[in-house]
């Protein structure tokens, strides 16, 4: 008998028929003798409907009230799922974030979880009921309703699993698991049986959308095994777990890409200390996140500073940067949105040299120019022209042997 936390996203509970499917799966686990805690998101479309109503009434809706509004989405789902289970003869009980006491700070619309009380949930489980918890929401020290930001239900589920010491946390979604790369652009993409927390963190921050980054951080911190899988079938998904030695035998675990960044170059600034601080300080003050940064010094002590920001923030970033650049005597500020960031990720890089050079070699062979480079202990990212995105993903996927058969990978990864 195990204690399992299951999280179902918005598309998995998007209509009554899907809610019924979730209820069937939950009651099957319960019938096997497992203790089940379910964490659910709002039905898909609900959050957008509420955001639209708010948008019609306030240009800059008050964030405390926004949280009161958005928290109703998950509250609807917990009630519907609980009544469906009860109707099926499976005892269940819904709980809001306030009722569980999912304690957060007071940063409305992007609160961070400080702790999860387990008393109420344990009482429900001990009473033989399925505990159904509203994801995405919590309560601050003053009793205000808070929310964790988009995708926050993943984090709720992992936090609940950590607090309860659950045997595993299953993340149900509309894909079968974590893939070596996006199957939509590379038909050799293969589902991974296992991946380490660190690799998953890099993939999530490099463009893979399957899990919210903070949920993986939480899982890593509290060593909660995550099982990412589809709510539409019974296929095993991908386990996100602690790194083990077998993983290192495969140098690269996946290839990620991101077409949502823009590149800004500030040319002809003096090459002296403090320039970078002035430029990036101005951006940070506007809450604009800078990803990659490259500086190079040309002739006559003139430097050029190139960096990437989210495309959505480009206009704001230019407004901030242009006066600073003028002040620094910059000759030119140019921007480019036709770029893509391609990354290879794998804990094996720690022990295998030459991943970066192999990556450059493969791209060069296809005539793909590398515009910027950034590396970490377990990833290499290159910015290239956007039109080469699919080609780059496919050749790197091949070059690092990611298209190997499942059997081969299982042997290597000990899956």
């Amino acid at each position: 008998m195990a204690l399992v936390v299951q999280k179902y996203g918005g598309s998995s509970v998007g209509d009554p028929e899907r809610i019924r499917n979730v209820a069937r799966r939950v009651s099957r686990y319960r019938a096997q003798g497992d203790d089940v805690v379910v964490v659910v998101s709002a039905m898909s479309g609900q959050t957008d409907r509420l955001l639209q109503l708010a948008g019609e009434l306030a240009e800059l809706p008050n964030e405390r009230e926004m949280d009161v509004l958005l928290a109703t989405g998950e509250q609807v789902t917990i009630a519907l799922l609980a009544m469906t289970l009860i109707e099926m003869g499976c005892p269940a009980r819904s709980m809001t974030g306030v009722q569980v006491q999912i304690r957060t700070d007071s940063a409305h619309t992007r609160a961070r979880i400080a702790g999860v009380d387990t008393a109420v949930v344990r009482t429900v489980l001990e009473g033989g009921q399925v505990a159904i918890i509203a994801g995405f929401q919590g309560v601050d020290p003053a009793g205000n309703i808070t929310t964790l930001g988009r995708g926050g239900s993943d984090t709720s589920a992992v936090a609940v699993a950590a607090a309860l010491g659950a045997d595993s946390c299953e993340i149900y979604t509309d894909v079968d698991g974590v893939y070596t790369t996006d199957p939509n652009i590379c038909d050799k993409a293969r589902k991974l049986d296992r991946i380490s927390y660190d690799e998953m963190l890099e993939l999530a921050s490099l463009g893979a959308k399957v899990l919210q980054i903070r949920s993986v951080e939480f899982a890593k911190k509290y060593k909660v095994p995550l099982h990412v899988r589809s709510s539409f079938n019974d296929t095993e998904g991908t386990w996100v777990v602690e790194e083990d030695e077998s993983m290192e035998q495969l140098t690269v675990a996946g290839v990620a890409y991101d077409r949502k960044e823009a590149k800004i170059s500030v040319r002809g600034v003096p090459d002296r200390p403090g320039i970078a601080a002035q430029l990036f300080g101005a951006l940070a003050a506007q809450n604009i996140v800078v990803d990659m940064i490259v500086q190079d010094v040309g002739e006559g002590g003139q430097a050029s500073m190139t960096f990437t920001v989210p495309q959505a923030d480009l206009k704001r970033a230019l407004t901030v940067i242009e006066p600073v650049a003028r002040e620094l005597g910059s000759a030119q500020v140019v921007s480019d949105t036709s770029i893509a960031k391609i990354s290879v990720v794998g804990v094996g890089m720690r022990s295998h040299a030459g991943v970066a050079s192999r990556m450059f070699e493969v791209l060069a062979r296809e005539g793909i120019n590398v515009l910027m480079i950034s590396t970490s202990e377990i990833k290499v990212s290159c910015v290239i022209e956007e039109k080469y995105t699919e080609l780059a993903v496919r050749v790197l996927h091949d070059a690092f042997g990611l298209a190997e058969t499942k059997g081969q990978e299982a042997a290597k990864r000990g899956g």
Copy 2:
């Protein structure tokens, strides 16, 4: 400076434009220096949408979960109204039933209010904010979300007003106030300036839909002056207040009608003690509410028992009654849905004799046969054939002088 509780029903907050109108009215009161507490219902249509979702998932939805589901309706409205006010520059703060601590018993879907904590609301008011409270919902001693049943927001508002010792409780709705009868069937119907709690109670239970009965009981018990008025204009509505002597000068305050009842006759039962108990005990066991009861004894000691039940319960009532009637040796059970109950109500009846006989006389003059009669201290009700409903309402409205001009009534009622 006064403390005012305002309640806005579902149609008054039915879309963003109407919510904005409510916000404008609230901020006008605030600008006058009044302390304002607002109690709101779910946006019209929302509750039905949620009920439909529940209906698709469970034939007999669990009532605890139903309350969790339905309570989201008001939570959406409080958040939207609060953010609209804040955007207008009027400080406001929303509160759910749990956050206020509107304490109820645990009778899910029809809970009764046990008390309202005022600490949080007072703190909000003292901070110069408008307090916006979700109507219809509360919390039971175990922390479960409860709801008060349809129309419960009226009761929430009156309970909050009573707990705070508010100067008045304004009930905003889509009509201008309480009328002497339904303006849709009698064009001489006139808005009342004032009416007593007792009269309002009778009118509400006899078919007038303007206020929930329990809210009037609450207002009477705690002497909260109610002001029923339209949210679409600034016209004075109707004050529901304690009875005073001037009211008795007008014998009848209003004429009500109800076409939603059905008549059942059980003929040929023995005229001996215990028969009524057997029949009505069986109905009570099925939670069927019996309204009027008439028993008459014919020849040979054979009695006939006639009573009314809601049309919606007729089928169930007959299923219950028929075996009991057979057992009692009844010759026949017949039912009739083409009936209407017409009532005249007024505290003046306490001191004016002859209202009932005047009513029978007026109906007889029009050839309207009276099928059943029921009286209380301040009302007389007659069951007649349904087709005479409008005619009966109009002739009684005339006969009791309800169409008098406003000036005349004001003089008589001291309004």
